[in-house]
């Protein structure tokens, strides 16, 4: 019996609240977390009081002991935060939850993310102040302070190094918006995007138009993980964790944009480890959810996970390739962070699970290997691969 956790843990249930525009959730953030968690347990057919572990990321504010107390959980055995990287931690939280179950630290672990920005201030925006020291001193006085700005120079450099054109970014955005038109839950449902509208939309920071940027939403999402054996007795087709990895490369955390290998989405060291753990290669992936903080990050994520050579981006990144069903690489099939909702990526992990279950609004036929890339361009990032029974 090897130590690998491949196929040892499964996602048994998923749950989401409605998604609201930033700052407009009618409920407190903690209440949204509870709602998503209870829904995920109901979806799994599991009593929420038997949850004995919580795993989150991006400095989530809903404390595990408080969640356990509010739910009346019998016992708490695992209380875990993937440290750093903001939304880059979503698949990392799944890795942590799976590892905990595989190692026997806990049996029923909820991975969740809750966000209600009206209460707490806008995510990604620091407090306004008169003076700033430390890393921010090198960027804020030069007008560099937003997430879009922090990543744009990486994408500019990558596009320069490999001759990538704006059309490649546009293809990603168009695919997400098209998928959202088939998903009644998507925030951008009923608001399709054309090439012309994309091209005409205002620049945020080049090369990001408005439609290259994720939305900002309030809401909560959760999933329940249990052992593979238990999952087989529950209501849904089990969705097994084949691989889940997190981390970053040499000095990814160097400050003032001094990471030696700069024009990257931070997946070069992760992708080989992910495929080795999962026992699959990029050619085996049936459907992909790739976190769009910004489309440029998706582009680099797809290259660094081996789907496309960097010099071939302009030919590879065309909308038709990414459209489900039927495209070669179905991408962000419920609309993604651009067009479904932005729950710091956990919605992407949930859609990946739905694809394995056959429950997506843009279902890929015979989806057995369903991948999620979380991040990108931050540190640490993470990615994971789910598989059906047939992949075990």
């Amino acid at each position: 019996m090897t130590a690998t956790m491949r196929g040892r843990v499964a996602v048994a249930g998923v749950g989401e609240t409605a998604y609201y525009k930033r700052g407009q959730a009618p409920d407190a953030e903690f209440k949204l977390a509870l709602e998503a968690i209870v829904r995920a347990c109901q979806d799994a057919g599991i009593d929420p009081k038997t949850v004995d572990g919580f795993a989150s990321y991006s400095n989530d504010r809903s404390d595990p002991s408080r969640l356990a107390a509010a739910l009346g959980c019998h016992e708490l055995r695992f209380a875990n935060m993937q440290w750093g990287g903001g939304g880059g931690g979503g698949s990392g939280a799944i890795a942590n939850a799976a590892a905990a179950i595989h190692a026997g630290l806990a049996d029923t672990v909820v991975v969740f993310r809750a966000l209600a920005q009206g209460q707490f201030g806008r995510f990604g925006q620091g407090p306004r102040r008169n003076a700033i020291s430390g890393d921010g001193a090198y960027s804020v006085p030069y007008g560099l302070m937003s997430p879009a700005q922090m990543f744009a120079m990486k994408v500019v450099r990558f596009m320069h190094e490999h001759g990538v054109e704006q059309s490649a970014l546009r293809a990603i955005s168009l695919a997400c918006y098209e998928h959202a038109q088939h998903n009644p839950r998507a925030v951008m449902h009923g608001r399709p995007l054309t090439e012309e509208a994309y091209d005409a939309s205002r620049w945020i920071v080049e090369p990001f138009h408005l439609y290259d940027c994720c939305m900002e939403n309030d809401g909560a999402a959760a999933m329940v993980l249990v052992s593979a054996e238990r999952a087989r007795d529950l209501a849904h087709k089990p969705c097994y964790v084949l691989g889940a990895v997190a981390g970053s490369h040499y000095r990814a955390g160097a400050s003032v944009h001094n990471t030696p290998d700069y024009a990257t989405s931070t997946f070069k060291t992760l992708a080989p480890r992910l495929y080795a753990m999962a026992g699959v290669g990029p050619g085996d992936v049936d459907v992909l959810q790739s976190y769009e903080n910004f489309t440029g990050g998706v582009l680099m994520s797809i290259v660094e996970h081996g789907f496309c050579e960097p010099e071939a981006c302009n030919e590879f990144f065309v909308k038709e390739r990414f459209i489900a069903p039927g495209g070669d690489l179905p991408l962000n099939t419920s609309g993604g962070n651009l067009a479904e909702c932005y729950m710091h990526g956990l919605g992407l992990n949930i859609e990946a699970v739905r694809q394995i279950r056959g429950a997506s609004t843009r279902q890929v036929s015979d989806a057995e290997v369903s991948m999620v890339i979380s991040g990108p361009m931050v540190t640490p990032v993470s990615s994971c691969i789910f598989g059906s029974e047939a992949t075990l």
Partner: protein, 147 residues
């Protein structure tokens, strides 16, 4: 018409114990960057130890304020209330080949809609803020004059 590249109102830089020589140096038109006293390795942003050899003997050394454009971004959306009337502006990431390829963030002076060429040679321009309390200096960049 302002002497400064950006509209007033952004947070000004405040030195910390770690990077005081850098911020003080700029006020004297000097670019001080971190160098290890043990292995002579360069690093930026400043760290408490040398990431090459882990020595704690890290200090600052003056270098020429010149470099090449490594990357850039043209910003359109105002990210701060002070920038609502700014219009587009350029943020540039400049590489210093003579200092271990460390990189510095600044603004690229001149037309905000100019075509920017990665690899172009740039020279530093010290923007002194004597109106501030305490005073401070930012290091901007402009395309180097052709010889």
């Amino acid at each position: 018409m302002s002497d400064f590249y950006l509209q007033p109102g952004l947070a000004q830089p405040a030195p910390s114990e770690l990077d005081l020589p850098y911020w003080n140096g700029l006020q004297e038109n000097v670019l001080n960057v971190q160098r290890c006293g043990t292995c002579q390795g360069w690093q930026w942003g400043p760290e408490w130890i040398c990431h090459h050899c882990l020595s704690t003997d890290v200090g600052f050394e003056p270098v020429s304020a010149t470099g090449v454009i490594y990357s850039y971004e043209r910003v359109w959306h105002p990210v701060h209330p002070a920038l609502t009337e700014q219009g587009p502006y350029l943020v540039v990431l400049v590489e210093l080949p003579h200092a271990g390829d460390i990189r510095m963030i600044g603004n690229l002076l001149g037309d905000a809609q100019q075509q920017v060429t990665i690899g172009a040679a740039v020279e530093g321009v010290f923007e002194h803020h004597l109106e501030a309390q305490p005073t401070y200096t930012l290091l901007h960049w402009r395309i180097a004059e052709q010889a």
